[in-house]
Amino acid sequence: MKVLSKDKLSTALNKLSDSAEVFVPMQKGKQSGYFTWKSFEEGQDELMLEALNVYQSPKNAVFPQTERIYGIASQGVEVNIDKTYEDTSANIIFGARGCDVKGIMAMDLAFLTKGYEDSLYKARRSANTIIANACYEPGPNCFCNAMEVNCVEPAGADVILHDVGDGYGWEVKSDKGEAVTALLADILEEKEVKLPAIKPFIQNVDYSGVAEKLKDMFDHPLWDKLAEPCVNCGMCTYVCPSCYCFDIQVKMWGEQGYRFRTWDSCMFEEYSREAGGGNPRGASKERFRQRFLHKLQFFKERYGTPLCTGCGRCMIVCPTDINIVRIIDAVKEAEINA
């Protein structure tokens, strides 16, 4: 197997960064997430390839927190769209875990299927290569195995890294993977490696039948109890690798400006508020229910796979200890008296 020796890691990241923005998991000051290798500051920042999941997912590489859609020039009655902002410059996500790869697979379904292709997402994604990092030792919050993810061989990865101690086994999975491998021809070595043993999951989560059962649970009293602590802060949607909802806004300075989009959250009251003041999800509970039904039922119905990838982030960040695993358990256990 090809191997990337760990002492050649920065050489490899430098090499890849010559032709692409390379997003790697790192601790940057108080932030942990995927940042570009070019922004890495030796001695200050810390590479986090060993950690299971950094705080922010790599979704910003293909779906930035804010991105411009088009430029506007407006003068009197005249108005022009002087530029659109599809970004096709190469980008690589290096070290994504299986759950985060699945997040991108889910966004591919949302942005690229069902009638319309989102041109901004399509541009970034077609210039994107995913080098995944296989998980052999799930953490205390992980449950991707229950959410249709194979964390050792994640579907959608172009290359899969396998941590073999002093290096990474380098498994090529696609043409895009071949292309980045060619860039590192001088750095990768051919070696015998022994892949680590797969450790069992700590959590035992059973999602089977949950999407189907939820169909009859929209008005179930359990939502009152489950939603009660939620303060609708939106943290869970922000850190989630597969939450993709966005808002569209405009910024103008006098006669020049641009329209842009930015991550939004179904947890916010304004998100679904209608002109005229009505809101189908005006109550906190209704927004809470929307988030978890979208994850566990609606997306599965529409696209065939759940929108939760089992990364465990939302339960770590939630200030009120809402835990999607306990929601799945509660749905499993709930009685439905029709």
Partner: protein
């Protein structure tokens, strides 16, 4: 639903609008204006609409809103009847003829005009809710032989707030086998027509359900009571059609906010049979 073969004119950039020129503006009521637009070179329109489809209309420096686009037989221009309710619509009401604005679309499924062929049509609208139904009504009159009796029941708060007065009082009542009923909420001088809310007027008129389809649009509270009245009158859930107005941003099933259950109303709707709505979570 179309997968891939959608009919928008976005040239592969669905969030980027076409620039059009406002060629005419008509005051419909004190807070509703119709805007007529054409391509800036004066030739044609950026897209053709089917009855009940919408366009995302933008005053580019301000914002965008989903607006029903009036169907016209020879689609030489697009018409949007817009009520002033907030940030964007206030600004749109200030613009003058010649202004360039943005439109993208057409969005949504539109009314099932073919399914309804051979039926008696009962159109029930309140306020600006007549705007989307007007497309279907106009379509029926252009294809008059395809539809049975046409009954139009429309109400608004006051006489001044009645939209499309010329059609209501002059054009539509002259159409064959057609009746038009208009009501306002409270009595006022200069009004000798019916006074009262739409649902009770509907029950009074009581159009027979046999072989009929009712199409309903208006403020949520009106829709709610009209649906109850129709049920009482013997209309089945597959004889009632309505069009929903969730909050929308993208119009193409991506941004998330307009969903009810696993449906995105911008893409899969906004027009539904009541029967279909009954299968969705009760967020409409």
């Amino acid at each position: 639903m179309p997968d891939k073969d959608h009919k928008c004119t976005c040239s592969e950039k669905p969030l980027v609008p076409n620039i059009v020129e406002v060629i005419d503006i008509i005051d419909r009521t004190p807070d509703v204006k119709s805007f007529f637009v054409k391509n800036p070179d004066g030739n044609g329109v950026p897209f053709q609409v089917a009855p009940g489809q919408c366009g995302m209309v933008s005053h580019l420096p301000i914002g965008e809103a989903m607006i029903s686009c009036t169907w016209q037989e020879n689609q030489e221009y697009l018409e949007f009847a817009i009520k002033r309710v907030g940030l964007l619509t206030d600004e749109l009401h200030q613009i003058e003829i010649g202004q360039k604005i943005g439109v993208r679309g057409p969005y949504g499924n539109g009314f099932p005009v073919n399914d309804c062929k051979g039926k008696d049509m009962v159109f029930i609208a309140g306020g600006i809710g007549l705007a989307p139904l007007r497309s279907f009504i106009k379509y029926c009159f252009k294809n008059r032989q395809d539809y049975g009796k046409i009954t139009i029941i429309y109400g608004s708060r006051s006489k001044a707030d009645l939209c499309f007065k010329e059609e209501l009082f002059e054009l539509w009542p002259q159409e064959p086998n057609t009746e038009v009923f208009v009501t306002i909420d409270n009595a006022e001088a200069e009004w000798d027509g019916h006074v009262g809310f739409v649902p009770s007027y509907l029950e009074e008129i009581n159009p027979a359900p046999a072989g009929a389809i009712a199409v309903v649009c208006g403020p949520p509270i009106m829709i709610k009571f009209v649906l109850q009245s129709l049920e009482k009158m013997g209309y089945n859930d597959d004889q009632v059609i309505t069009t929903l107005e969730m909050r929308m941003k993208c119009g193409i099933g991506k941004c998330g906010r307009c969903n009810i259950g696993s449906e995105f109303i911008c893409l899969d709707g906004p027009v539904y049979y009541l029967k279909q709505l009954r299968d969705l979570p009760p967020e409409w």
